[in-house]
């Protein structure tokens, strides 16, 4: 067993031969952050007394939900056979919404620890992340985690893993991030098996930006992996894509607190501070070079994160609009995947159409806005982006149903995904039924082991991004897992369903659905609204329509009594106060034509049942 390193290699003076860069990848909850904890502890960068569970999950929302949202890189020393090595470890998120974070982290590494929960086996994001790592030519170290669990089946899953990546089941390491068992062996193996980074120390500096974070105190902190040359404090650097130049105010490594250094050399991972306030000036995927001695060719970057679902965010109180605007601007500094633009809704007022990577991303963003900026928000029903071609060949990209063109439509295209589902084989029938009902086309099926299968489907994004996963879970008694990635688009028979109150269209409730599901949406929404909207002084018809064709209707009966008929003696003051209270209540009403709709009704009608379930979990 290796001892804790007696001396740590010094940044800027570390031979690439003693550097190992790796990330920990796994399906959600398989224990990446917990394993990272043990590594922090055993390498001595975090003292045992300072240790807390999932040390690197620093955001409140990460800690509360027990999930990692942002990757974190840490430099740790580790000694093998008398040599001190510098390990750069990146803990990554497991949820499919944040796959983009994983792929950025991979670009900074030569190797990956592929972690698999020994009680669960391979799951959908295990595969997805493995393939990502293989695309990046990383050396993979397969590891079974949680072997302390009584339900662990290390033999079975070692075999599965060996089948998947080749090799001998006996070579699969068995660790427990919880007890620390096997973690030191793993650190040794990382040193022995992973290749050292290679680069030209004498070439002009090139460093790849793999993360960029806004910090209130320090401004933008840019995380880089140096490929060639060396970066020093105080020198002027240049961003190769934008040609923007900055002075390097500080350079250093995280271990795990930011520690300034004399520079960063070939193969090193660390951070830069330039004093810029806008992360967009320090773009993820860009190459940093030295202004005085610039590189001629930038490193291959990665594609921007593409928003998948869109939702309108509106402040409950219209006067909060500027607060929301500023909050989004700030949040975007930390979240390159977030895109937004202002929009207005007749029903909800001024707000923003915001693009997200998925529903979890939406939920988290909304929660952060509400919490960190004390906002009360309404978010409209999420939808995907459609490409509508009109008969005059004009093409419109629709991220908001109310922008759906009214002219003659030649064709509508919807985004598609390729989805991978892993589950015990007894559920194959149920899964196929579900996918078929979601307009899926099967791509193939493989056995991972005797009793577990991988099923591949091509499906419309709109069919899987909302409630699909919850239904999959319940149909597979919790054993099914899902991963998906964008996969082009297809022409589809889609229609826009409008909802009308007293003949007045309510833009916030419009939806784009497949023609076969329009009726169900209409019935669901009109029914919901009938329950949610209080009775008015007149009857209020609620209709769902495709164009001018009504597909569902409900009606709210007129209120018949709204008067206090009791002898109040001379207490006129009480009566007046009551009137004032009713007046206050009216302020929380949104007018749709003549119909008073309480804001709560908007919220409730727009809250999808899935997100209600999530809140319960």
């Amino acid at each position: 067993m290796s001892p804790m390193a007696r001396t740590a290699p010094v940044p800027a003076a570390t031979d690439p031969a003693i550097i190992r860069n790796f990330c920990i990848i796994a399906h959600i909850d398989h224990g990446k952050s917990t394993l990272a904890d043990r590594m922090l502890q055993y390498t001595g960068v975090v003292q045992s007394r300072d240790m807390k569970a999932q040390y690197l999950d620093r955001m409140d929302i990460e800690r509360e939900r027990g999930i990692t949202i942002k990757s974190q890189a840490v430099r740790m020393p580790w000694e093998v056979d008398g040599t001190s090595y510098a390990l750069n470890m990146i803990d990554t998120p497991g949820h499919v919404d944040f796959t983009y974070e994983v792929s950025r982290s991979l670009a900074a590494c030569e190797g990956a620890v592929l972690l698999v929960d020994a009680a669960q086996g391979i799951e959908a994001q295990t595969l997805a992340n493995l393939y990502l790592a293989m695309e990046n030519n990383l050396t993979i170290i397969p590891v079974l985690n949680k072997i302390d669990l009584p339900a662990a089946q290390p033999e079975k899953y070692a075999e599965e893993l060996a089948n998947l990546i080749g090799g001998d089941p006996d070579e699969v390491l068995r660790v427990s991030g919880k007890t620390g068992m096997g973690v030191e062996v793993l650190l040794d193996k990382i040193v022995r098996d992973l290749p050292a980074p290679v680069g030209d120390p004498d070439a002009p500096a090139r460093a790849m930006i793999f993360d960029s974070v806004y910090d209130t105190y320090r401004g933008v902190v840019t995380y880089v992996r140096v490929v060639d040359g060396m970066l020093h404090p105080r020198e002027r650097i240049q961003m190769m894509s934008t040609r923007a130049t900055h002075e390097l105010l500080e350079i250093g490594v995280s271990s795990p607190e930011p520690t300034p250094s004399k520079g960063l050399g070939v193969g090193e991972v660390g951070y830069l501070i330039t004093g810029v306030k806008d992360v967009r000036l320090s773009k993820v995927g860009d190459t940093v070079t030295n202004l005085a001695k610039p590189a001629s060719e930038s490193l291959p970057g990665y594609a921007d994160a593409k928003p998948m679902v869109f939702s309108g965010l509106y402040p409950l109180d219209g006067t909060d609009y500027p607060v929301l605007r500023d909050a989004l601007e700030k949040l975007m500094l930390n979240d390159a995947a977030l895109v937004y633009q202002p929009e207005t809704s007749a029903a909800l007022g001024f707000g923003f159409r915001v693009g997200f990577l998925g529903l979890l991303h939406l939920e988290i963003t909304r929660e952060r806005l509400e919490r960190e900026y004390k906002l009360d928000l309404i978010s409209t029903a999420p939808n995907v982006e459609y490409e509508v071609t009109l008969e005059d060949k004009r093409v419109v990209h629709v991220t908001n149903p109310s922008e759906y063109p009214t002219g003659k439509i030649a064709e509508v295209r919807e985004p598609m995904v390729s989805a991978t589902i892993l589950a015990p084989n007894e559920f194959v029938g149920a899964i196929m039924e579900l996918c078929q009902s979601r307009r899926g086309v099967m791509g193939g099926m493989d056995y991972l082991s005797e009793d577990r299968v991988e099923i591949r489907y091509r499906l419309p994004l709109a069919e899987i991004v909302f409630d699909f996963f919850d239904i999959l879970k319940s149909k597979t008694r919790g054993y099914g897992s899902l991963d998906w990635k964008a996969d082009g688009d297809q022409v589809a028979d889609l229609v826009k369903v409008d909802i009308m109150l007293q003949g007045e269209q309510v833009d916030a409730f419009s939806a784009i659905t497949h023609r076969d599901k329009a009726y169900a949406y209409g019935v669901m929404m009109t029914g919901k609204l009938r329950e949610l909207i209080p009775r008015q002084q007149f009857e209020v018809p609620i209709q769902a329509a495709i164009g001018s064709r009504i597909i569902a209707r409900e009606s709210i009966r007129a209120i018949r009594k709204d008067v206090l008929a009791k002898c109040y003696g001379g207490d006129i003051t009480r009566k007046r106060k009551l009137l004032e209270k009713q007046k206050e209540g009216k302020k929380r009403m949104k007018m749709v034509g003549r119909v008073e709709v309480p804001q709560e009704a908007f919220i409730a009608a727009l809250t999808t049942d899935e997100s209600k379930d999530k809140a319960k979990k």
Partner: protein
């Protein structure tokens, strides 16, 4: 009086009123309300400021109450004079509760006599007492009539035993025609209070109560929709599911039935919940509330209004008696209304009357709202053209909404 007092400004202990109270006083009517805060038992739905003997404990005895009330009468006379109000005779006096007739008729007579001694009565003044059917005798009613009372309002509530039971009423239905007859014999005008929409009351039950009440030939009827007040026994029973809740549609249907039957019997509505045989038999004291006249309210928790100043007394009889014993005003708080608030109140109150609300005084947006109200069938179009906003039957059922539309549209 409802038992929760409003929040207002502190009231001065000498009770003196700001100067505005006296403005135009000579043109306004003046009345007296006397609150009697005692009941034999508390009805499950009632949140008025009233106390049973057990609730009171030893503190303030019913025996001393008349003297305490008279002390406030004398205090009132001094304050009005001291605040520069001209001497005015009483146009109306109203004894309410609680159950005024729980006190000996002599006590009520004494209080009335003290008030008459201070201010005098206008010729033809209306002097009413509320009464529980259980708490009067031919003798007591005669005594009241001899003392100057002109009217008695009986809390009949319903003619249906199971409804009376849910309401916790102690009298039997057959008691009502008896007491009505005694009141008549004593020369008193008779009003009957009814409550509709009690849990378990069918439309047929309500029809029966109405027909029964009308068969006694009352001069006046008040019909109130049952309100489930927070903190009452009834509210708790409904919350626990022991009795069904109340339903606005049921209330609406019953109000319509009430208006139909009462009107058919020859009475006419003059306020949302009140009907009288002739316009002269409308309760003038009630009208004074709706019309913004001046009145002084005697008794714990009683409300007063003089020239745009409203105040209310401390709630508990013991605290109330203590204040007066120390020569201090029993007021707990008061508010001086500004022009805008007075306008809001005027709209809120006058819209409920058959005499209606003057359209000309409504201001631009209020007048604009009237057109919509006519279109929706809530306001009588013909009278609106003549300049009076008068509610239709549908409008009366939506009176609060109408007021909001006039004030906020």
């Amino acid at each position: 009086m409802p038992s929760v007092l409003p929040l207002g400004d502190p009231a001065p202990s000498d009770g003196l009123l700001p100067a505005q109270a006296a403005d135009g006083a000579a043109q306004r009517g003046f009345g007296l309300y006397v609150h009697i805060p005692f009941c034999a038992v508390r009805c499950g739905y009632c949140d008025f400021n009233t106390y049973t003997a057990t609730e009171l404990g030893g503190g303030a005895s019913q025996d001393a109450y008349a003297s305490t009330a008279i002390a406030e009468v004398e205090f009132a006379a001094r304050v009005l004079k001291g605040s520069g109000l001209p001497p005015r005779r009483l146009g109306t006096v109203f004894f309410g509760g609680g159950t005024p007739t729980l006190l000996p008729a002599e006590d009520l007579a004494r209080i009335l006599a003290a008030a008459v001694a201070e201010w005098g009565l206008e010729p033809g003044a209306e002097v009413t007492t509320e009464a529980n059917p259980d708490s009067v005798t031919p003798e007591s009613l005669q005594l009241l009539a001899d003392a100057g009372f002109t009217r008695v309002s009986f809390g009949m509530q319903s003619a249906v035993p199971h409804v009376l039971k849910v309401l916790d009423r102690t009298h039997t239905p057959s008691r009502v025609p008896q007491v009505v007859q005694w009141a008549r014999d004593a020369g008193l005008a008779v009003s009957l209070d009814l409550i509709y929409g009690t849990p378990g009351e069918s439309l047929a039950d309500w029809r029966y109560s109405l027909e029964t009440a009308l068969s006694y030939g009352p001069d006046h009827i008040s019909a109130y929709a049952l309100i489930v007040e927070d903190g009452t026994k009834l509210a708790a029973q409904i919350r626990r599911g022991e009795v069904p809740g109340i339903d606005d549609d049921d209330h609406a249907a019953k109000y319509e039935l009430a208006d139909e039957l009462i009107t058919a019997a020859g009475l006419g509505w003059y306020e949302v919940s009140n009907w009288s045989r002739t316009p002269q038999q409308a309760c003038r004291h009630n009208l004074a509330y709706w019309r913004g006249d001046d009145w002084w309210g005697i008794g714990p928790g009683a409300h007063s209004h003089v020239g745009g100043v409203r105040w209310w007394n401390v709630k508990h009889p013991t605290a109330y008696a203590g204040r007066l014993a120390g020569g201090a005003s029993p007021a707990a708080g008061r508010e001086t209304l500004d022009a805008e608030t007075r306008n809001v109140e005027r709209v809120m109150l006058e819209a409920r009357l058959s005499s209606g609300l003057g359209v000309s005084g409504l201001g631009e947006s209020g007048r604009h709202a009237v057109a919509g109200l006519i279109a929706d069938g809530l306001v009588d179009p013909a009278l609106a053209f003549k300049g009076r906003l008068v509610l239709t039957l549908k409008g009366r059922l939506l009176a609060d909404a109408v007021v909001r539309r006039i004030l906020h549209d």
